[in-house]
């Protein structure tokens, strides 16, 4: 059956041969850089980059919406900063790699015959989600850190599911190309590396330049999380030293609609839920308790991070005071009236960690309203969106 389909296909392409004009013509693309060798090297680099992005992305998703079997640890304190920093930096570095790869294999879009057999048809069909998904993921991720949303969907959900579609398409692609890639990379000197046109680029020159482009865009942006590079990163969407009290803000008090409730003198922090003695504490009450000072990063999902010196009441002390059971899990709720990130979960490891604070001060001053005045959660190894600001209540589960 399959063979008969293949034969019919071949006959069809023979009959359609007069259609081979323009880019469909044999030899339409002359550059030697469109070679298997270039494609193999770029493919390897992209395969590694996309794997890093996928793994760190799924991890970040699981931390924020944990499945039952998954408990994200509170240590090491800077792990999320590193994994999410890698997610964004790798995605940015992959932009020139992807464009170079698409350029290299562009002639194959017009390869003849377009479809040789069933396997070839399925492989080429899988290229649509691969190319569409790859471009979509890098473009939407870059737009997200530039806070530009020209579409209707909610970015995190669309980016997440697009990643599964793309990684599936990438698996098909690896299945189709693994053996050719391996054989090309294994050859020492596969074909002479001479430029197509006199004075033009060699293959090595092209690959070096593309690597240089990846390095260039990395240096131009990575200072948003690697502080010593901040003055070089002229295209970084954040500067870890710019913002109230010396570091950036993601959600402003105004956009969260807490300007009045957070500055109201009658503000109280409630500790309730599965506790023996529900608490209602004023700012003065909290200030009168034993304070702890810790140095912890605030690490945003969008790939920037900044370290600050935080001071406040250990969450653990409040839980003990309220008579919460051991290994308690806590929901921290904000004054923010609505929005997906108005509350966050503290699993038993985060709730029990001695460095998880109800912070009242940062860098030696009372919290700025933009940083969550009068009190916020700050804990080790948590995404920034889970460091709930403008605390209203802590509900023990």
């Amino acid at each position: 059956m399959v063979r008969r389909v293949d034969q019919a296909l071949n006959k069809l392409w023979d009959r359609l041969a007069p259609l081979r004009v323009g880019p469909l013509k044999q030899g339409a693309f002359t550059s030697r850089l469109h070679s298997e060798h270039t494609a193999a090297w770029l493919g390897m680099a992209l395969g590694i980059s996309f794997t890093i992005c996928f793994a760190t992305g799924v991890l970040s998703h699981m931390i924020q919406q944990p499945p039952g079997w998954f408990t994200w640890p509170a240590r090491p304190a800077g792990l999320y900063r590193i994994s999410q920093g890698f997610h964004v930096a790798t995605g940015i570095a992959a932009i020139p790699l992807l464009l170079a790869k698409l350029w290299t294999v562009f002639p194959r879009l017009f390869s003849w015959p377009p479809v040789e057999n069933v396997a070839h048809a399925l492989e080429r069909l899988s290229l649509l989600p691969l190319v569409g998904g790859s471009v979509f993921l890098l473009m939407s991720g870059l737009n997200n850190i530039a806070l530009w949303y020209p579409w209707e969907f909610f970015f995190p959900a669309a980016h997440y599911w697009a990643a599964w579609i793309t990684i599936g398409a990438l698996m098909v692609h690896i299945g189709a190309k693994a053996s050719i890639t391996a054989s090309v990379l294994r050859k020492r000197e596969p074909e002479p590396d001479v430029p197509t046109e006199p004075g033009g680029m060699t293959r090595r020159g092209f690959l070096t330049t593309v690597a240089g482009a990846a390095g260039l865009v990395t240096v131009a942006t990575v200072g948003q999380t690697i502080r010593p590079l901040r003055s070089l990163s002229v295209l970084a969407p954040r500067d870890p030293a710019v913002g109230p009290q010396g570091f950036p803000v993601n959600k402003t008090a105004r956009s969260a609609r807490v300007t009045e409730t957070a500055t109201d003198a009658s503000w109280r922090l409630a500790v309730q839920g599965r506790v023996d003695r529900p608490l209602s504490l004023s700012l003065a009450d909290l200030q009168a308790m034993d304070q702890r000072e810790v140095t912890l990063p605030i690490a945003c999902v969008e790939g920037w991070s900044a370290t600050a010196r935080w001071k406040g009441v250990p969450l653990n002390d409040l839980l003990r005071l309220a008579g919460a059971p051991g290994e308690a899990e806590v929901t921290a709720e904000s004054l923010q009236p609505r929005g997906l990130f108005r509350k966050s979960e503290l699993n038993r490891l985060h709730a029990a960690d001695q460095d998880t604070l109800v912070a009242l001060e940062v860098n030696g001053e009372p919290l700025h309203l933009e940083h969550g005045f009068p009190a916020r959660i700050i804990g080790p190894n948590r995404p920034g969106v889970m460091q709930t600001k403008w605390l209203d209540k802590l509900v023990v589960k």
Binding site: P129, F136, I167, M171, A213, V242
Partner: protein
């Protein structure tokens, strides 16, 4: 003629696994339709491939033709290097410059991005220009 078709058992296994993973993604997308807006999502997803293949790629090939036809041989490699590096910088800077930014939050997008891009481009073109000058000098000394 050399066949472009994939073959072997490994391909079929990866095809099955890959399509299963893709279907998982599509299922999640559909189940969360109120957030993912599958119609609008598809437009952007397929549009991404189309915009690249029908717009960006032809434009790049057009530039390449100009470079090969018009630019003298000895400049060519340096110009190609500068163009590739510049294109990468322009793409990354594009949403910071063309997007609306976030004026209500002064710590978001705090820099002057057009100036930042010009700085990067200046460094790229000065760097490749320097490499070209060094090469010219080296050639001259070799002839002397």
């Amino acid at each position: 003629m050399k066949s472009n078709a994939p073959q072997g058992k490994a391909f079929w296994i990866m095809l099955a696994l890959g399509w299963a993973v893709m279907l998982f993604g599509v299922r999640g997308l559909v189940l969360q339709a109120p957030r993912t807006h599958p119609g609008n999502f598809s437009l952007w997803f397929i549009g991404s491939a189309l915009v690249h293949d029908a717009l960006i790629a032809p434009l790049v090939f057009l530039v390449a033709v100009v470079v090969v036809r018009v630019v003298p041989q000895r400049f060519r490699r340096y110009l190609q290097t500068a163009l590739i590096l510049s294109a990468a910088a322009v793409v990354v800077a594009f949403p910071m410059i063309a997007g609306p930014g976030k004026p209500s939050n002064p710590s978001a997008l705090p820099r002057d991005y057009p100036a930042g891009l010009l700085t990067v481009l200046a460094v790229v073109w000065a760097g490749t220009g320097l490499m070209f000058a060094i090469r010219l000098l080296a050639v001259r000394f070799r002839h002397d």
